[in-house]
């Protein structure tokens, strides 16, 4: 059995790599730029001048720290036209646009010329000082100058992010007319001319055939995935050594975030599974004892109906009935504690006593979700076992019905129930998202949902990988338990 377990554990490794890859692929396709979000959270959002200066440097450092300046994976499969240094471009939208342009033209050199000419134009545009212009030419008002300059800047910004063949000429037209109407923008004339020139170069020197030839570019060990999985030997230790990275929402280490939240989710699922077993096993026994009686048939129908009832509906009904001033206001609506009374220095008993009313409805909902399912399995399993030959033998040799059911049948009917046990651990790490949201329980479910909605992908990947790992461990434990319960099963 030990050998079997070891063999199973070895198969975990490729599976875990596959899971982490899958979640990695999903998360790199997420919209938005994590660095922008993090720097915004840090409060460094400011005017255009500020952004170009200090905050740009901060962003660069942040990007480097998170490893976002590295290529994504060990290799990338692209076409011959695509550049293998594109990952060095920092802005996510620029990157996507350059990729699209390269696809149109097939000539990376022309595209990078176009890009750098656009950046030059942007630089020239940033040098325009409205106050100076107004000081030199008193016939102009500051508003007009600012507006024209802003409009020009806007057009540059959108050119940097669009590859649409019909929009680009329109933007050029607009910029040219701005130049014509406003003499003070004349510094931009040459850079704009360069941009238009290089834009034409995109198609003059097009090598579209290159986009039809696939290539693999190799980046080696310096990539984001490698950094995340194995670390870089310096500040990052990598997932395999227990470092999950930092959250993109608040720069907190993922590990501490998970430890803070996992307790409540884990205890809720543990309590509820325990309660569910407590209810469903007697039901199974009873059904087998009184098989085909009216009570059994009625119970099976009720269980079936309960099984079809979505737990979020049950939860909302409970809230409607028991946490609603219109009906019965027995329990609080949300949360797990009352912040005005709750004192973190209380001992365990006090905390428990204080939280009990908050937790009763969630526990009922949690239990309900697994209870209906478990009872049905238990009932079917029990009836199946009772109709087997060895039970008939047991009865034939004169054993009492109670002894037959409890001693001979119960143990074998526990097999399918064990499978459910395997689901507890992954449930704790993923949390039950819907139930936690309904009752505003600050557990893993809400945490995971928040990180998904905010594209906090270090957290998402960690949760995926951890819950994948725990699911596999759960299955393994269940398989080993089978052997304990049923001596006929052996893994040799």
């Amino acid at each position: 059995m030990f050998k079997y377990a070891l063999k199973r554990i070895l198969t975990f490794i490729p599976m875990l790599i596959a899971i982490s890859l899958l979640s990695f692929v999903i998360s790199i396709n997420a919209p938005g730029d994590p660095v922008e979000r993090l720097s915004k959270a840090a409060g460094s959002e400011g005017s255009a001048e500020q952004q170009s200066g200090a905050s740009k440097k901060i962003k660069q450092e942040l990007r480097k720290k998170l490893g976002l300046d590295l290529p994504i994976f060990y290799f990338s499969i692209t076409d011959l036209a695509a550049s293998d240094t594109l990952y060095k471009v920092q802005d996510k939208y620029h990157k996507a646009n350059l990729e699209a342009l390269t696809h149109q033209s097939g000539n990376w050199r022309a595209v990078s010329d176009y890009y750098s000419s656009l950046l030059n134009l942007q630089k020239a545009h940033q040098k325009i000082d409205a106050k100076k212009i107004v000081a030199n030419d008193s016939s102009l008002s500051l508003n007009i100058v600012n507006e024209a300059a802003n409009q020009f800047g806007f057009e540059i910004g959108s050119l940097l992010e669009t590859s649409d063949k019909t929009i680009i000429p329109l933007k050029f037209e607009k910029m040219n007319s701005l130049l014509q109407n406003h003499v003070f923008l004349s510094d931009l004339k040459n850079p704009l001319f360069n941009v238009q020139q290089s834009r034409e170069g995109l198609f003059k020197n097009a090598t579209r055939w290159k986009t039809y030839i696939p290539t693999i570019s190799w980046y080696g060990g310096k990539n984001q995935y490698h950094l995340w999985l194995l670390g870089n030997g310096k500040d990052r230790k990598g997932l395999l050594r227990g470092d999950f990275g930092i959250s993109y929402i608040d720069s907190q280490p993922i590990e501490s975030k998970i430890w803070q939240k996992v307790g409540i989710s884990f205890s809720l699922s543990l309590i509820s599974i325990f309660l569910a077993y407590l209810i469903s096993i007697p039901i199974g026994i009873y059904s087998a004892y009184k098989k085909d009686s009216a009570a059994d048939k009625g119970m099976s129908l009720v269980l079936f109906v309960l099984y079809s009832m979505p737990s979020f509906f049950v939860a909302t009904l409970l809230l409607l009935q028991f946490a609603n001033p219109d009906n019965l206001s027995w329990f609080p609506v949300s949360g797990i504690q009352d912040p005005t009374i709750f004192d973190p220095n209380w001992n365990l008993w006090m905390k428990l006593k204080h939280r009990m009313p908050f937790l009763i409805l969630p526990i009922i909902t949690y239990t309900y979700g697994s209870f209906a399912f478990l009872s049905r399995i238990m009932r079917v399993g029990m009836i199946d076992v009772v109709s087997q030959d060895y039970i008939r033998t047991a009865r034939a040799k004169g054993l009492g019905e109670g002894k037959v059911i409890l001693k001979h049948a119960l143990r074998n009917s526990l097999l399918p129930v064990i499978t459910v046990f395997a689901a507890i651990f992954p449930m704790a790490i993923g949390g039950s998202i819907i139930i936690e949201v309904i009752f505003s329980i600050p557990g893993m479910g809400v945490e995971v949902l928040n990180s998904i909605l905010n594209y906090d992908y270090p957290m998402i990947i960690t949760v995926f990988t951890l819950s994948g790992f725990l699911t596999m461990v759960g299955y393994l434990v269940a398989d080993l338990l089978y052997a304990v319960v049923d001596p006929r099963i052996s893994y040799k």
């Binding site: 599976m15 039809y212 079809s308 009832m309 979505p310 998202i433």
Partner: protein, 441 residues
């Protein structure tokens, strides 16, 4: 007795067994009712009347397209007004005779006189054609109440039927397609039965890679362009991409025939079963709801995309059942007969073996539909995936959760979800008993 009947067929037997289960039969009829409601939703709940007589013109507004615009002239030929069907408030018009739909509200239309959760039996107001605000006439009463912005709940439920049935159909359609094909291949070929020359094996893998490159990598921008124009265009472009991928794979397979070397032509077996089983294991070890929420957060918000995602993540159960059936079937005489007659594997699998494997698979599809509906309503309940302007049962229930005083927004949508799921589960359970008596519980 039945077995000796000459006309005995398994289908007839199964149907007779199914009919014995009265609850399941009732469920089947209820499902039919749901389908009818879904099909005729625009004629059951609509702002626009079915038939209206206006200034001597006979109009059928509910049957017209949304964008229709009519110039209305009276019987003398004088111009009265331009009627734009979708924005006209038909209740305000002076209609000489009119037939309203049973629920005279569209799911999205906001009744501004009954905002802020008008209760089903509470006070509701109405603006008549003279412009006076009066107590609501019983015809126009919101019989199941309204939500915070005055949308009629009954109408939302009727149109929500459409979405929930479609979710079941589309997502399980996709899941069955993937699951049955993969399961059949895995079960029929196992790890050793599919043999091909080494060069063909390699070139097939290479061909799949090239097919994906030209079908999807190359056409990335065409695809995203098409999807941004609408789901229909997107689907056509998607099919074209899949077509390109298949054609290129085939080309490489044909190419492999041209290459003749002894070592390269040696037969190797393709571990089909391992591929599929690992895939199933992988998908099963990620919590499904978590995976679905993550993907929906990354892609655009659309009900179609939600259905597709539920479909692509939901095929594992079907594949497992199909695989198990094929493992059993492939050693039966009729499959061996088909093989010894020299039929191709594809023909044996899909023409001879598959029809005999479908019974248990059908049951798992029916259970799958129930869980797809459950997942979609769960997502809408969380406000994820489905756009805000689409009214679904889950999103209505969510409105009720946020305002517990509006009990009608909890009870009715919740019951709708619950009943639909029960119906599917009942049918699935009864057909399992009917199709496979061994599994009877």
């Amino acid at each position: 007795m039945q077995n000796t009947n000459e006309n005995f067929s398994f289908k007839k037997y199964a149907w007779a067994q199914f009919k014995k289960n009265k609850i399941a039969l009732v469920s089947l009829y209820l499902l039919l009712v749901l389908v009818i409601i879904a099909l005729f939703a625009p004629y059951i709940a609509n702002d626009r009347p079915l038939y209206a007589e206006y200034e001597g013109n006979t109009l059928y507004p509910a049957f017209a397209s949304d964008t229709r615009t009519d110039s209305i002239h009276n019987s003398k030929g004088d111009f009265i007004q331009v009627l734009q069907y979708d924005i006209t408030d038909w209740r305000q018009l002076d209609l000489t005779s009119v037939i309203w739909t049973p629920i005279p509200y569209s799911p999205g239309s906001m009744d501004r006189y009954n905002r802020d959760y008008a209760a089903p039996s509470g006070k509701q107001r109405f603006k008549n054609s003279d412009g006076e605000i009066i107590d609501i006439p019983s015809k126009f009463r919101h019989k199941l109440g309204t939500d915070g912005i005055g949308r009629d709940l009954a109408s939302g439920l009727i149109h929500g039927t459409r979405i929930s049935l479609m979710v079941g159909l589309v997502s399980m359609g996709i899941a069955s397609f993937i699951g049955i094909i993969l399961g059949a291949l895995a079960g029929f070929f196992g790890d050793t039965k599919l043999k091909m020359p080494r060069i063909k094996y390699w070139l097939t893998i290479f061909g799949v890679f090239m097919g994906l490159f030209y079908g999807f990598g190359q056409r990335k921008y065409i695809l995203s362009q098409a999807f941004s124009e609408g789901i229909g265009d997107g689907m056509i472009a998607m099919l074209a991409s899949i077509g390109v991928a298949i054609v290129i794979t085939m080309l490489f397979r044909i190419l492999s025939k041209a290459i003749q070397f002894e070592w390269l032509n040696k037969e190797v077996s393709v571990p089909m079963d391992t591929f599929v089983s690992r895939g199933i294991e992988l998908l099963n070890s990620i919590p499904r709801l978590l995976l679905i929420i993550t993907i929906t957060a990354v892609v655009e918000r659309s009900i179609w995309i939600v259905m597709i995602i539920i479909g692509i993540t939901g095929w594992t159960g079907i594949a497992r059942f199909t695989r198990a059936e094929f493992l059993r079937i492939r050693s039966l005489e009729f499959v061996q007969a088909a093989e010894s007659l020299g039929y191709s594997s594809i023909r044996t699998i899909f023409k001879h073996a598959l029809p005999n494997a479908l019974a248990p698979v059908f049951v798992s599809i029916a259970f799958g539909i129930a869980s797809a509906i459950l997942i979609e309503s769960g997502l809408s309940f969380l406000g994820i995936g489905v756009p805000d302007d689409i009214v679904t049962w889950g999103s209505l229930l969510n409105l009720g959760r946020q305002n517990l005083e509006a009990w009608w927004l909890i009870i009715y949508p919740g019951m709708a979800i619950f009943i639909t799921i029960t119906i599917y589960n009942m049918i699935a359970e009864a057909s399992r008993d009917a199709l496979d008596p061994r599994l009877k519980s």
